[in-house]
């Protein structure tokens, strides 16, 4: 289906895809402006290549393209810092909130992972995608994705000071 922008339902579904991609891009670059620009670029590439952005089978391609663009754009701008007030709102009532510093360290540790491990982990642990969906987005086998997620978790535990990892 070619995107014309005339139909309200079509615009709505394009916006839903855009928001999904922006959420993913923010988890990789931690800057809203960069994420918006990256998704816009991904859409531009999709349109020039005739990829239907609203088709569900296009989502893996869009995620992969967005991830690649994020890799190129990392550190273009300063990532948003997580302050204590923002972190305190991330926990459920009665739960001990983590300090902002530990989340910042976790974010830095994720950034230092090899690209495929980082992408697989972000999609699995932060986007809650299934291994099959991740495999389609990364053009890898499910087994390879599981291996990347496993290595990423172990590496993070080691970097963050788990003595037994």
């Amino acid at each position: 289906m070619k995107f014309t922008g005339n139909d309200a339902a079509e615009r709505s579904s394009v916006e839903a895809v855009r928001q999904r991609l922006v959420r993913y891009a923010v988890k990789l670059v931690w800057n809203r402006d960069d994420a918006d620009e990256i998704v816009q670029e991904a859409f531009r590439i999709a349109l020039t290549r005739g990829v239907a952005v609203t088709a569900s089978e296009s989502l893996p391609w869009l995620l992969r393209t967005t991830g690649n663009l994020c890799l190129n754009a990392r550190r273009r701008r300063r990532p948003v810092r997580l302050d204590e007030a923002a972190v305190a709102t991330l926990t459920s009532p009665g739960e001990q909130p983590p300090d902002a510093e530990s989340l910042e360290r976790l974010r830095a540790a994720i950034e230092s992972l090899p690209a495929q491990q980082r992408d697989a982990l972000v999609m699995r642990a932060m986007e809650q995608m299934s291994y099959e969906e991740i495999a389609a987005a990364m053009e890898l086998s499910v087994g390879a994705v599981r291996a990347h997620v496993h290595l990423a978790r172990r590496a993070l535990m080691k970097m963050l000071g788990s003595n037994d990892a």
Partner: protein
């Protein structure tokens, strides 16, 4: 009964909720008995919880109304374009100046080259314009016999008129080459 290594290899299935109930019960029994594995799985659970918190924080950043950055970045881009235009105008002015300035205004007549210099002295990367108004880029130090600093209407650049290299270019050097090393 498995080894600690074998239990720890089930970490991903445990975190992903894919462990069958029987294996889950077996693992729970092992964690009750093994302090090291208990710490390992606790660390992994903490990591998973913090990843989920990071995801929530990222989703909030993505969902927040956009701050008005466009103006700032647009202004920065306009500034870069303006700086480029200013530099182009300066070069044009210098070219025009080199072409039209009467030789009588200088102590040694028409210069062999004109250097448009941003720092205090010509250096690699600056532009050189020869007497026929051909533009060169300085690839190494200039060796003028005489250098005259000319007044410029643009304070960000200096125009230096250069007269003849001290030593002529060697056979291997192109004729437009500024000559061997020595500073202005």
């Amino acid at each position: 009964m498995h080894s600690c290594y074998e239990y720890r290899e089930r970490l991903d299935a445990w975190l992903d909720g894919e462990l069958p109930p029987v294996e889950s019960a077996d693992l729970a029994a092992h964690l009750d008995a093994c302090g090291a594995c208990r710490r390992f799985f606790d660390d992994a659970a903490r990591l998973n919880a913090n990843l989920a918190r990071l995801a929530v924080a990222a989703d909030r950043i993505a969902a927040a109304p956009r701050r008005v950055h466009a103006g700032r970045y647009a202004a920065w881009r306009i500034g870069r374009i303006a700086a480029g235009l200013l530099l182009a105008a300066s070069v044009g002015l210098a070219l025009w100046s080199a072409r039209t300035r009467p030789p009588i205004e200088t102590p040694a007549g028409r210069p062999d080259r004109v250097a448009i210099v941003r720092p205090a002295e010509p250096s690699p990367g600056d532009l050189l314009i020869d007497s026929a108004c051909r533009v060169e880029t300085i690839v190494r130090d200039c060796t003028p016999a005489l250098a005259v600093c000319m007044p410029s209407q643009n304070a960000s650049i200096r125009i230096v008129w250069l007269y003849g290299p001290v030593s002529p270019p060697t056979e291997s050097e192109p004729s437009t080459s500024p000559g061997p090393a020595s500073r202005v």
